[in-house]
Symmetry: C2
Subunit: 993 residues, 2 copies
């Protein structure tokens, strides 16, 4: 029996729905594959797929799109699309329609009467309206993190499951608009139970070759680790996602309608029928079966669905009537799902693909690689927001607060921001502001949950003192936390969301000096370190703090420590004797593991791994810029660099300055070199005591444009590593793909852009290596990156362009704040290890970077003794350690006794001798504080189907491989111990006693 | 019992409907005034009127608009509007909608299933959908002829009556877009049973004054002859016909929708509600009752009706909710009919108006006077087509052919061409071409009816020879009739559609000489006269005829004569001795009545009426031009002259040439003076033997524009008549209004344009007079005309401008043909009589001009004897004469025994001692050949309601006059003799035994 209970979305706005609905309609075989028209075997079967593509924000905000506000910017109004489509489906039972973006559908749904909801349920249950892909948005694939891709798909899937049951479950991925396609997304989709994936954009060279060789459809092997479970049938649409030329019948098109009244002028049935038959035959040339799919719709189409449907029905009628005259073209309403099913039933064998679709070119000089970096602040804020979201879920769950609905706004905002014109940075500025505001308001809303959770977790039994209110210091990244400034005492509580204990280096910006007590009451060693001048000068920083307190904080796994800060009675700042500073001298940063040498010009000369006893020489390291191509886009040669496209004027980079100042600082906890290039660019290389990695904190901006030159700023690492044209980049923070400069593995690649054509999306890491040495650079957000020559790695960290690149956004990529160009600060983490030891560090550190510990502050008048008597200062959900190669991806409380969790093996095969192996974990260990697991149900990755019920379509490759794979021991679970294979994610619904 | 049978439209396309439906639904008091919401007495009641304004051709053709073709020109698709509105009305029974243009509705209706038709019938019967005005189009008021206004309204009314019964009967006029308003239209509407009229455009000065003084609504006294029966409540809409600013919710607007979901961003209910309340209060300031009407719609709106209705309903909900907070604003869905009814129930008294709304100014320099002349060829073709239509109806009826449905295409085309962007000339060129084509195809289709009728009328009993096929020579106006060229024999049959016998001067262009026999076999005197060089040079004239045969043909009333032409055996052309010609000599044209003197420079010096013994001296007569203002329309000062607006650069006119050549020709039948100005302008003044009027035939064009100067050509008549600032112009070919130069009778008129501001539409005639003398000029089409100084009359006959005037058409008024500017030829008819005798001539001649005799030719190999033995050569429907002041306006056979006729007294009160009196006519006399009248039912002018059932709302004027008028003896008819008062039109359904 399937008793998934997760109706929190439905009740997220209690005003609308009073309780948990469950799934009111059961499938009665009137939806899904059973209702597919499979055409006629002797005909060219044309699957007519009415659809709308509704961007969850782009030129307008999501709510402007929903309501149809600001139609002066772009005419688009999703509320009317849904009104209209539902009406049209009711009018004619032959009609079918797919809907994709649940962010919009949910908005509409909440405004409907129960009668209308039931009407729509009937349409879904009878297969007229089909949800496809079903994410909250159609997520970007380049710059998104797998954690958030899964979340946003789960959010949509949960809504659909709750409201529509099995008939509402999407059966395939529909990524028709994103600007490149990630193998990891294919793998995730396969694990969500999707039977296929369709998308619209590939490289124009790739398209031409596939078109010519009838390889538009294939089996994509989504993982190098997970086998056939990760395979996904994948189809490239012939015209991105539009109708054949001249057959767009939407309001916003000007194509000729079918004029079939012979009594009126301009009767055009014969020529329109012939044109359509021709279009069908042309399309069929690129595909292998006697089925083709025609996507009949486009951006925000079907605002008046009748116009489309009315003409489509005339087309179907008159084209099919030609069969009597020998025509082989057979039209019928269908869906991508049914088209997929028809292909599956055709018993073909299919070519395979093992690499990904990155980067892709729109034209010779238009490569979708700029967006890998566009809007770096939003990209970081998105990652930070996810961090808060995951921590909040954990706090809610472990405190048994059952406040899931209060987390919904942040969850929803995160779902929206995954959209391919959101975190991608390809939206208009006002829309980017809206996304940031949504995340901000989402975070504001979960502060309540965090406090409710800590009320329980911090309180000692039989203590009645109110728990001090916890708050976040969002501006910690610029060393600012105004609420604690000048306070005599405050607490800092740090939650570690990983299942391993960690040691964090904590930086607290202060205006006074404090003693700090650890959870057991001991005073800890903290150093008061001056905040760097570049940091203090960041526009918008209003803090008067000149120093930050730096200390080492060990935090238990899945738990917290509280540190108590008490102002030092001696108000004079400590003597600075513990800190040694040099200016423009050669210097060496060194700890137990690494040694980093700079010359007196501020050049990083080498890094030595003292444990492994090797050195990497640097010929250059630091900040450079490309000149943005200043085109008018009138032809491919004049393609400008912009929000989507990165196109440098030349392949040459210029250093951001010809000289630099270097200041090295040595304290007990940290040694660091601050390199200031000019008044808008600096980097600080830090080596913490005991750290195995170096941290590079950079501050860039406002990028000057007074010279009317757009600039794209990179951080470059030029080493003596013999990388031999190869480099390695992650996909969405998970599996890593090998890249080869100026090369594509599936076609004979003609290089038109030798820089941009080698850029790849870096969601979490990039490395180069030779036999002995590997430098791995981890990022705190998605960036574009490459290796332009052997030994070199570069990451684009900021961009400011002066031209729109004519892909629709209509604005140059020119962010400002405080009337100046935007200042970005961020971090790289540098791992210098032998290849065989690198995963050991980059794997866990990458997980910590996206699931960082979260600090909350609280003000309290209580003395330390009173505080410690009343409140718990350390706590962990775990009593036993969990294997190092296991990651807790999701820990979400559905109801008081039911949880949704995902656990993950986060090492790939063969990358670490120890950890690239299967591992067992006892789920009960996660629930020590919550109760005994009495029921465990393994679900698909999206959480909307018992894994046992997942029956994916089976495909054959041209090499006679079958995609058939038996799902693992999902429902046969007799114990709470589960096995994880490398890169496997498993999703469970856990019921406690 | 009401048994009107006129279902011909419904069966016009027999493929759609198999029989006559009658009126399937009876009114059950769920429509009309009974279902009106009359608001609340203590509130400001805002009648929300959802509407669409669908131009029956303008920037696109009527069928392009219907289907939504060529949306690149203008997005507009009426098929979807009607689809969508019907759906929207079904969704919510509160909703109401009005539909106006039956040309579109009929197109849509014919494509609907019977189920859908019944659904719509239900909506109409329940008052949700209301037809308003209900003409085939929303006719222009300036340049239309009353005959065609009545026809086009009857066509729409008949369709509505047949399909919807009483609930489909429009109750008021809705002329929201035309560019000026005619008193005659008000009068006709009153006689159609309308209770009121609303329109949108008045002079901006008039608007300001009425707005200020709350005189936006009034009782318009529509006739100087017909008393309160012609009064019509008339309202001026506040914003032409649009919604209050920012409250347009159509797809094509960008106004903010009502965003009422507090969970989404940008909730805007409070500010939108306040803005609407403010708009209502502002509008209410201009009106006298506590009711106001807000027209919610515009051109081609409601293509997705849901968008409008959804937001309107939110507006109604939230604005009315403010009543709880003391707001006095009360919103509800309504119709103009219900708004009118609410005003009527308010028991106010109203100001009155006796003049008309011509001309009107859009701005200081933008006067809607150019369109009085724009596209003179189309204007003439429309008048000619009506002539054919009326003659065809008569032939069909008198031959008892019952082929009414075959006449429908011409009737339909005429209905379309009455549209205010059709015959007005304010459409794009390709649309003007479409109108002309429709008329042409309409005429082609009635050739069949004409032949079927003549088969009966021409055939003698017991004769079996087939009747020769009749054909029209459409190019007679340029002396071309190719089918008869070179023939040895042919017949010419001339139908006289008036109820008085006439004598026509017949001109037959020939390439040979012929003897001509009259119906009794006698040879008649005919003269072979050279065709003038300007005529022969008209581009497109392909005839090789150099001569035309001119002869006098007396034609019986409502009947025909056939003339038999036999080529003369002597192939040499007659000696020309009977014709005298002078070149550039002074000359005198003279007959029994008139004497016209020219000097040797071609100047018309004087005209003497020899009967009345007076002379009118001419200081000038002939062709002049105004320079079109070449503006860019960026502000009123830069307003260009264009299709709508006539704006001369200065008030000066230039003669089309400084010298002229005059050739006078004297024959027995005619004396004429051909005056050639240059290679593009000429006039020929003709005085036929026995004629009481002079005919001026002008040929103008191609107007040269090589100098980049737009030119507007006038024919001017400058006399010594002491006209004292006054002149007289007809309204739609009926009543004549006195005009005073630089003066408006209802407001203190500021003159900004001293030429254009004095232009008036001349549908049929203009005159000036003094005590003794009157010159009346009759036109063959509508033209703009004025009297710019005392003694002068001018008529604008052709225009060619180089700039669009920014009223939407987007093209200059620059017609071409054969790659040159269009050549126009036309006629003026000059009456020089004392004022008291002028009506005696201009009244009947004007009627003959629009219901001219129609010549059909036929080729036959029969000798005259064989022809005359087999075929009837003369015939009249009448045996007794009908009074001279009676005109047969309509004679239409509905079914074999049922006819619709209109008879008319066509003299005004006090304009003729003899004929300006009531007159009796026996209708039976019209049916002598058809049968005995057994039932006579008087109808409203539109033919859709028994006059006895017409109960118009009663209004009170501020002078305590009541509009109440008892209808005449309509249903009490005991005999077939009916009385007509001056200017009265009476409509009857006649049933024969």
């Amino acid at each position: 029996m399937y008793t998934v209970i997760h109706c929190a979305i439905a009740i997220a706005f209690a005003a609308f729905i009073s309780g948990c609905l469950g799934a009111p309609f059961k499938s009665v075989n009137t939806c899904g594959y059973d209702v597919c028209n499979l055409g006629q075997s002797d005909k060219l079967n044309v699957h007519i797929v009415p659809h709308t593509h509704d961007d969850v924000g782009w030129l307008k905000t999501v709510d402007q799109y929903y309501y149809g506000t600001r139609n002066d910017i772009q005419h688009a109004a999703v509320q009317y699309i849904l009104d209209s489509v539902i009406q049209a489906l009711l009018e004619n039972p032959d009609r079918r329609f797919i809907y994709v973006e649940i962010a919009f559908f949910w908005r509409w749904w909440m405004q409907q009467t129960e009668d209308m909801q039931n009407t729509v349920r009937k349409l879904v249950n009878e297969g007229h309206l089909e949800f496809i892909s079903g994410g909250w948005s159609m997520n970007d694939e380049g710059v998104t993190h797998y954690s958030s891709i899964i979340d946003q798909h789960s959010l949509g899937a949960e809504f659909l499951r709750d409201q529509f049951g099995e008939c509402g479950r999407p059966k395939l991925g529909w990524q028709i608009d994103p600007f490149g396609h990630s193998r990891e997304v294919a793998s995730l989709f396969a694990h969500m139970g999707f039977d296929g994936l369709f998308f619209g954009r590939v490289d124009f060279q790739d398209y031409a070759e596939r078109n010519r060789t009838k390889r538009m459809e294939m089996i994509w092997k989504g993982s190098a680790n997970l086998g056939a479970q990760s395979w996904l049938f994948t189809g490239i649409l012939p015209r991105v996602y539009t109708a054949p030329q001249s057959f767009c019948f939407d309001y916003r098109c000007s194509d000729e309608p079918i004029k079939d009244d012979p009594h009126l002028y301009d009767y055009n049935v014969p020529e329109r029928v012939q044109a359509f038959i021709d279009a069908a035959h042309i399309q069929a040339r690129s595909y292998t079966t006697n089925h083709i799919m025609m996507t009949m719709g486009s951006d925000f189409h079907y605002e008046n669905a009748n116009e489309w449907f009315k003409n489509l029905e005339k087309l179907i009628k008159y084209v099919n009537a030609q069969q009597a005259n020998g025509s082989d073209v057979n039209l019928f309403y269908s869906t991508p799902t049914c088209y997929l099913y028809a292909l599956n039933k055709d018993n073909q064998t299919w070519t395979t693909k093992t690499d990904d679709f990155f980067p892709i070119s729109f034209s010779q000089h238009g490569l979708w690689t700029g967006y890998f970096t566009s809007r770096p602040a939003l990209k970081r804020y998105e990652r930070y927001s996810n961090n808060i979201l995951q921590v909040t879920r954990q706090l809610n769950a472990f405190s048994n607060s059952t406040l899931r609905q209060a987390i919904f706004p942040l969850n929803e905002a995160m779902g929206i921001v995954q959209h391919h014109d959101a975190v991608s940075g390809t939206e208009k500025q006002h829309v980017a502001n809206d996304y940031a505001q949504r995340l901000s308001e989402g975070i504001d809303s979960v502060i309540y949950v965090i406090n409710e959770a800590y009320k329980k977790l911090l309180s000692k039994e039989n203590q009645s003192l109110p728990v001090p209110t916890q708050f976040l210091c969002h501006f910690s990244n610029i060393s600012e936390c105004l609420p604690i400034e000048g306070q005599d005492s405050f607490t800092l509580t740090i939650w570690n969301p990983t299942i391993q204990p960690i040691e964090d280096m904590i930086r607290v910006p202060v205006t006074k000096n404090y003693t700090i007590r650890n959870p057991t009451g001991g005073f800890i060693v903290a150093e008061l370190i001056p905040i760097s001048t570049p940091m203090k000068n960041i526009p918008g920083r209003t803090s008067s703090a000149q120093y930050e307190l730096l200390f080492r904080a060990p935090i238990p796994a899945l738990g917290f420590n509280t540190y108590y800060f008490q102002v030092k009675t001696d108000i004079t700042i400590e003597k600075k004797s513990t800190i040694k500073v040099t200016h423009n001298e050669a210097c060496i940063l060194q700890n137990q593991h690494l040694r980093i040498e700079f010359d007196d010009q501020g050049n990083l000369n080498n890094i030595t791994n003292q444990n492994r006893n090797f050195t990497v020489l640097f010929s250059a390291q630091g900040l450079y810029w490309y000149t943005s191509f200043p085109g008018n886009n009138s032809s491919p040669e004049f393609q400008a660099s912009g929000a989507y496209f990165f196109r440098p004027l030349t392949s040459n980079t210029l250093p951001v300055s010809n000289s630099r100042n270097i200041t090295c600082t040595y304290t007990n906890q940290v040694q660091k070199a601050l390199i200031i290039y000019n008044n808008w660019a600096s980097q600080e290389i830090k080596l913490y005591d005991g750290a195995r990695i170096a941290e590079i904190e950079w501050i860039v901006g406002p990028i000057p444009i007074e010279d009317n030159i757009g600039k794209e700023i990179i951080m470059r690492y030029d080493t003596d590593i013999q990388s031999n044209g190869l480099f390695y980049t992650d996909a969405n923070g998970r599996e890593v793909l090998e890249r080869k400069r100026d090369y594509r593995s599936t076609w004979n690649y003609t290089v038109y852009e030798n820089v941009s054509g080698n850029y790849y999306p870096i969601a979490s890491r990039i490395w180069i290596k030779d036999n002995k040495r590997q430098i791995t650079i981890l990022t705190d957000r998605s960036e574009g990156g490459s290796s332009m020559h052997d030994g070199s790695v570069e990451l684009m960290i900021h961009r400011r362009t002066l031209y729109d690149d004519s892909q629709g956004v209509g604005e140059p990529m020119n962010e400002t704040a405080y009337d100046k160009g935007l200042v970005i600060c961020g971090k790289h983490f540098l791992i210098v290890e032998p290849p065989e030891y690198s995963a050991l560090y980059h794997r866990p550190i990458a997980q910590h970077l996206y699931m960082n510990s979260i600090s909350t502050y609280a003000l309290s008048n209580l003395s330390y003794d009173n505080y410690s008597n009343s409140f718990r200062q350390t706590w962990s959900a775990l009593t036993e350690s969990i294997p190092y190669n296991v990651h807790l991806l999701t820990f979400d409380q559905l109801t008081s006794k039911v949880f949704l969790i995902r656990i993950e093996h986060y090492f790939e095969l063969n990358e670490d001798d120890t950890y690239s192996k299967s591992v067992e974990v006892d789920l009960q260990s996660l629930f020590r504080n919550l109760g005994k697991i009495i029921y465990l149900l393994e679900l698909t990755l999206g959480g909307n189907l018992p894994l046992n019920d997942m029956k994916r379509l089976v495909w054959q490759t041209i090499d006679n491989e079958s995609s058939y794979s038996k799902s693992t021991d999902s429902n046969s679970l007799k114990s709470t111990v589960v096995t994880l294979n490398p890169m496997q994610i498993r999703t469970f619904q856990v019921t406690l006693q």
